[in-house]
């Protein structure tokens, strides 16, 4: 059976169970609005899903039943037992159809018109009499509906009604059984008993089959289970380690068995977390289809290996990068049909998506037969960005040049279209993949197409790691990053050589840059002379190959004499070697996050407890690559400058779209405010009511030129930034899109021009930061109006005082007008310390919205302080953050934040504010009422 159908059956069975229970409750409390809307929602979901899956019979019945419930909900129809009975009847019909569906995978044939007629009669208010007048009706028509498999018997009355909820959902039987009795009672009485009972039982079991085969378990439970299994694995490892040192003990046998059981258990629990990768791909065909329509290309998406399973957690993390890359392939890779024909290729371009297992990893291949990367254009862009100079480029292979597309800030503005080139760049893709210990490779041939190879680990919970030693300290390196191990000593063919102190190794036909682990971790004193005891130890470890004379030799000599191990590591396409003193075995480890105080150290991705009980740090190869890597080398200077600035600003980096319009400095607007980038033909611009508009997606979209007097005549095209909100759109016409950059904005001069928020230095150029709000309001005066959702209850919004704490002037400038327009009175503070002072001074606020990352006192501490004081502990707190991990959110809740909101999500922000205020308001009033 189709997976979707199975899932649908499981889900719907659950919903139906819930519906039974709720309906009974509703009958008892006909005025329970919440219950009503829940019932309505459940029915609506069933209807919606049926429609989606193409199950017309189910959909019809659900639809008509929903109609009645809609009237219940709107209070136009009184909830009476008769009506509820009718709804139950529809539910039974739905169950009957579903059991048929479960048996055959198809909807059974049948006629529901009479039931529907009665439902409609009630809906139209013609009353239930019709129903009462023909009580036999359900009995006559239900058999077909219910028992597709029993149709042959064709004895309507025999199984006159579909087995009801009682057997299917034993837990609910008490309540629903009693209430549902009236409906089937009459036909029931007429049934030849034995036969019907058998049919009933048989059907009941069938209905629950699919439901019983799969269980919905909360992810939390699985995560807990996984953690415990991980601990068990560790303990097992410890036991095995102890066992190794002992010989012939009586523990041998039992431990062996334990070992096997734990391995099986681990595998079993892992399986619960595994999902086919196809789940992450399911949206892609649609995306490609829409894209090809929009771009006028012919694109075929071929997917293989959908069944390849991988950890849910990993799956979640690659979903977005994958979507982005496939979109990229279709948008940038595949050419227009005419170009393809000219190049001698079939008109229809193909994007292949393939996934398979390979040695503990999953390989995902995204391939297209498009035009490939344009090396010259990338070169041009590199030069423009100053990421390398012409000479360096000359020396690079095209492979190396292609790697630049993974660099931050490498977005080619020409490529910005409505579909890609916006937001997630390839650097984000790479970062996301590397975050989960994966790597991405790119092969591209101009004119032939590009292939991306993504290699990701099967799971993140337990990884295999190589244990190494450097300067007598042990470290774990994830096996995933290790390409090979090379041992070097005085007798080996290749030696570590030095170029002005930088160690390198000739490895086959390549020169491998090396880093010494003890040096990058500063395990040896700065002066590079290894401590005497280290050397002595090295000498001993050499098993006599070197002698005490080594004690005074230079470090290079040390490489000659001792066995050195080089761990050849690959991060993306960058290959380098890590020099360590010793290599032990590999061990399965459970990655545990490092303590908070150690989070800033890039070199470690976590820590773990080894089989022998000692704690060991897990090295992060990409962190090491960053310190040593040529990949990053060229822009380190920029990075440090930028990161320092970021530190000072509390790390608030913002994606900005840079563009030009009119004369003067480039303009910038936060990318997240822009819904789409479009290019319009000026001849399509029309004028209505004296304003310029354009037909856009079937609607009229007002257009505002960025500056008055912009020339909108002629035949050319103009780029337009589209802002969308609550179904309304407006376009801002500009001259040219320049670039998208991720920067820390520091608005230095506040603007006098109403359309500008101020000026900031971006890409070392003075840039005007645009106040989007101004343009939105100028097009449509009540643009923000609907947002407040009537701020709250009957209270006048003006009286709602909000304290906004954020260290970044940019956000203060952006949010304050937004909140003000929504009708709140806003006070801003640039630090938590100041804000606390204001609160202590007795100023009253109805709500405090605070940033999390701030210098001096962060949002968490701020919240704790507020909650600790009697005066402020009841003020609702909202956290505002540019990035929120689940841990952050948990922690936020712990210290007293009611909600967590992403910084740029203005809809959610406004909704949350009004919602929180309503909640608090109702709490207040209920408190008042009870006291």
């Amino acid at each position: 059976m189709d997976d979707l159908i199975t899932e649908f059956l499981t889900e719907t069975n659950e919903s139906l169970g819930e519906l039974d229970l709720d309906l009974v409750k509703l009958e008892q409390n006909p005025n329970d609005k919440e219950l009503l809307s829940n019932i309505f929602r459940l029915m609506h979901t069933i209807k919606g899903t049926c429609g989606f899956l193409g199950l017309p019979r189910l959909e019809k019945v659900a639809h008509h039943a929903e109609n009645i419930m809609g009237r219940f909900r709107d209070g136009e129809l009184e909830v009476t037992p008769d009506y509820v009975t009718l709804i139950f009847e529809s539910l039974d019909r739905i169950k009957g159809i579903m059991s048929g569906l479960e048996d055959t995978g198809e909807e059974p044939q049948g006629d529901d018109s009479s039931l529907i007629a009665r439902l409609d009669a009630v809906y139209e208010g013609k009353d239930i009499e019709g129903t009462a007048a023909e009580p036999e009706q359900p009995a006559v028509e239900q058999p077909q509906a219910a028992d597709a498999d029993l149709i042959a018997e064709e004895e309507p009355d025999e199984h006159g009604f579909v087995p009801v909820r009682a057997p299917t959902h034993p837990g609910y039987s008490n309540g629903s059984g009693a209430e549902s009795a009236p409906a089937p009672a009459k036909p029931d009485a007429e049934l030849p008993m034995a036969n019907s009972a058998a049919a009933e039982v048989g059907l009941a079991t069938k209905t629950s089959n699919v439901a019983a085969q799969s269980l919905r378990v909360s992810v939390d439970v699985l995560e807990d289970l996984m953690t415990m299994v991980s601990e068990l694995v560790l303990t097992r490892n410890q036991l095995l380690q102890i066992l190794r040192t002992m010989k012939d003990t009586e523990f041998d046998g039992p431990l062996q068995r334990l070992n096997h059981v734990v391995s099986d258990l681990q595998e079993g629990v892992m399986k619960t977390r595994m999902q086919p990768i196809g789940n992450a791909w399911s949206k892609l065909p649609r995306i490609i289809r829409d894209l090809s329509m929009e771009l006028g290309k012919k694109i075929d998406l071929k997917m293989t290996g959908q069944d390849t399973e991988l950890d849910r957690q990993v799956l979640d993390m690659i979903k977005d990068p994958l979507t982005h890359m496939v979109r990229n392939s279709a948008d940038h890779g595949i050419e227009m049909p005419a170009d393809r024909a000219a190049a001698g290729k079939p008109e229809t371009g193909t994007v292949w998506l393939n996934a398979y297992h390979e040695g503990g990893h999953i390989i995902i291949e995204i391939k297209d037969d498009g035009k490939g990367l344009n090396t010259d254009r990338i070169k041009h862009k590199i030069l423009n960005n100053g990421q390398a100079d012409a000479e360096e480029l000359e020396a690079m292979s095209s492979q190396q040049i292609h790697q630049f597309i993974f660099k931050p800030g490498f977005s080619t503005a020409e490529q910005v279209t409505a579909v890609s080139g916006r937001g997630v760049g390839m650097d984000v893709v790479r970062t996301n993949i590397e975050k989960i210990g994966g790597s991405i490779e790119l092969l591209s041939k101009e004119g032939k197409g590009s292939t991306f190879l993504i290699k990701i680990p099967l799971t993140l919970a337990i990884v295999s790691a190589l244990i190494v030693e450097s300067a007598s300290e042990r470290f774990a390196i994830p096996q995933l990053a290790v390409r090979e191990l090379v041992m070097v000593n005085s007798k080996s063919e290749n030696q570590v050589e030095f170029i002005k102190g930088a160690p390198v190794l000739r490895l086959r036909d390549q020169l491998l840059p090396l880093v010494s682990l003890d040096k990058i971790l500063k395990l040896v004193p700065e002066d590079n002379v290894p401590a005497a005891d280290d050397l002595a130890k090295a000498a001993i470890d050499d098993e006599g190959e070197s002698d005490a004379a080594n004690n005074n030799v230079s470090q290079s000599k040390r490489f000659d004499s001792a066995n050195q191990y080089i761990i050849v590591t690959q991060i993306g396409a960058f290959l380098f070697g890590i020099i360590v003193d010793k290599v032990f075995d590999t061990e399965e480890i459970v990655v545990k996050p490092v303590a908070d105080v150690l989070k800033d150290i890039d070199m470690f991705s976590g820590n773990t407890i080894l089989g022998d009980g000692s704690v060991i740090m897990i090295l992060d190869p990409s962190g090491i690559a960053k310190v040593s890597g040529e990949l990053e080398a060229s822009d380190t200077s920029m990075d440090t400058a930028e990161s320092e600035a970021a530190q000072a600003q509390g790390n608030d980096k913002t994606s900005l779209l840079l563009f030009t319009a009119g004369s003067g400095a480039p303009k910038a607007v936060p990318l997240s405010l822009v819904a789409r980038l479009e290019e319009i033909k000026l001849k399509d611009v029309e004028y209505s009511d004296g304003k310029s508009v354009i037909q856009y997606r079937g609607e009229l979209m007002p257009l505002t030129p960025f500056y008055p007097g912009m020339d909108l005549t002629g035949d050319g095209n103009k780029p337009v930034l589209v802002f969308t909100d609550q179904g309304r759109s407006m376009g801002l016409i500009i001259d040219q899109i320049l670039d998208i950059v991720d920067v820390v904005i520091d608005v230095q001069l506040s603007g006098t021009n109403p359309g500008l928020m101020g000026s900031a230095i971006i890409n070392s150029k003075a840039t005007d930061v645009v106040d989007v709000g101004h343009y939105l309001r100028s097009t449509n005066k009540d643009w923000f109006k609907n947002h407040g959702d009537e701020p709250f209850g009957d209270k006048d919004a003006e009286n709602t005082r909000i304290l906004l704490v954020d260290d970044s002037p940019f956000f203060r400038n952006m949010l304050t007008p937004l909140l003000k327009v929504a009708g709140y009175s806003v006070t801003t503070m640039e630090s938590a310390v100041d804000a606390l002072k204001v609160c202590e001074s007795g100023e009253r606020f109805d709500m405090i919205i605070s940033d999390i990352e701030m210098p001096e006192m962060d949002g968490f501490e701020f919240a704790q302080k507020l909650k600790a004081s009697n005066d402020t502990k009841d003020i609702p707190l909202l956290a505002l953050s540019s990035h929120a991990t689940p841990q952050d959110i948990d922690r936020g809740h712990e210290v007293g934040f009611s909600r967590y909101i992403a910084k740029f999500d203005k809809d959610t922000l406004l909704n949350t504010i009004s919602q929180t205020l309503v909640e608090v308001g109702s709490e207040d009033s209920s408190r008042r009422a009870s006291s």
Binding site: E473, G613, V615
Partner: protein
């Protein structure tokens, strides 16, 4: 910084008889570092450890001695001496540690010796003298007068906060 009223809520009903609260007692684990006695509120103490195998953490702040395995949990070991700006003393450390929890993470505070659990009267409590080293003022909740000695009450969360900087 004074001991806030609610830190005494765990202490008993004697409050009732003693409206001034001065006879209220609070229990501290006494520890010594460089012969100075410190007190840690007893409820914050999770564990007392002897000599442990500590894994050094390269590149970590100097006050972090490393990490250790406490029954399957990874505990960060803090060299309290460094936090307090003290030099290593002549008296050899016995390698004792007190394990405390802060924000869901375990920290092991490395100290010289562990003394008794003291039940101290609030009337013997004093604010930090203004002449106290500013570094210490930050991490001390106040001073208890003992017979012949002064006990500095360690503010554990603040002590751990100093590591970041």
């Amino acid at each position: 910084m004074t001991l806030s009223a609610d830190s005494f809520t765990d202490t008993d009903a004697r409050m009732m008889d003693d409206p001034t609260g001065l006879d209220t007692r609070k229990e501290y684990l006494s520890i010594t570092i460089n012969d100075q006695i410190f007190g840690i509120p007893i409820l914050q103490v999770q564990d007392v450890l002897g000599v442990q195998k500590i894994t050094r953490i390269p590149l970590a702040p100097p006050a972090i001695a490393g990490s250790l395995n406490l029954r399957g949990r990874i505990v960060t070991a803090i060299d309290v001496r460094k936090c307090l700006g003290l030099e290593a003393s002549g008296t050899p450390s016995r390698g004792m540690s007190v394990v405390v929890e802060n924000k869901g993470e375990l920290y092991s505070l490395m100290i010289d010796t562990i003394g008794d659990v003291l039940s101290l009267k609030l009337k013997d409590f004093e604010q930090n003298p203004p002449t106290l080293d500013p570094l210490w003022r930050d991490i001390s909740q106040g001073i208890f007068r003992l017979k012949g000695d002064l006990l500095v009450v360690l503010d554990v969360p603040k002590l751990l906060n100093t590591i970041h900087s």
